[in-house]
Symmetry: C2
Subunit: 174 residues, 2 copies
């Protein structure tokens, strides 16, 4: 009976661990029965745990990959906005600029649909989850801690933030 | 001994299946031992299989999500190219057009880095894995079946194709 392979194959080494720790020679028949039933129940319970973990990991894996791929597009969108900023002097009537602006809006909508909301609001309280403050400015017309300028928009939701908005924050005027 | 729960908990129902099928009352002591050892080995083997499946599924899940998120950006890139086509009359010197063209190149490079090569070559043989032919044209200067025009570029590799290139294919001139 003990001649059975404890490890069904080479790759099974880790998988068999749940039971293999107790794979000492067994004593009397009753003890053997108790021991074997215990091993079986442990293996079944571990199988259950592994299957539950798969369900959790699946969503986490997808979200990680979504973050990674979506992040790759942020520099493209940033540069598109830079090209638009440079074109602002050309006037809104330029059909090329209008077309490119529509593409920018489409890119922002695409990120939003993937779960990454654009964060470029001013007048909101500074929130360290969504904002990165790079400078402050004295202001007496807004509450201290108010975002008064967005230097680079952020993208993300409450759960997953692709990157924070880079902002300027108001301080109390002296 | 048979008073033991075969299913460690409610959610364990599916997980316990590997062993539960054989959970009939056991006969003599030797038979019990053989049966229990068999159950244990089956559960351990199943655990091993499940763990191997996780490794395979992980890469498949990531690739699926990568396809899905990257696909969302193709309409954005298509529209950027349309805006550029509309601007072609304005001449290459326009700094806005130059900037947008650089963004287009950056977007194509991003897709390439993610594993989706741009397919917009003419002069290559029609390949149903990468091309979708929407029309043909009689030509006597190229071999029949040659791609002579790309109406919309495709993106993808040999393994994973985001979308085929939409092409016009040469036929033998009558």
């Amino acid at each position: 009976m003990n001649g059975h392979e404890e490890r069904p194959d080479q790759d099974g080494a880790r998988a068999a661990q749940a039971g293999a720790d107790e794979a000492e020679p067994l004593g009397g028949s009753e003890a053997k029965l108790a021991e074997l039933e215990d091993r079986w129940l442990r293996a079944v319970a571990e199988l259950d745990n592994v299957r539950k973990r798969i369900a959790r990991d699946t969503e986490r894996l997808r979200a990680e990959e979504r973050d990674k791929v979506a992040s790759e597009w942020l520099p493209v969108l940033d540069n598109l906005e830079r090209a638009l900023s440079a074109a602002e002097g050309d006037g809104d009537a330029d059909p090329v600029v209008q077309g490119v602006r529509a593409v920018r809006d489409q890119a922002v909508a695409t990120l939003n649909r993937l779960g990454y909301r654009r964060q470029d609001q001013t007048g909101v309280p500074f929130d360290p989850r969504h904002h990165e403050a790079v400078s402050t400015v004295e202001r007496d017309d807004v509450a201290p801690g108010t975002v008064v300028e967005v230097l680079q928009p952020g993208y993300g939701g409450d759960q997953r933030q692709l990157r924070p908005a880079v902002v300027v924050v108001a301080t109390r005027a002296e």
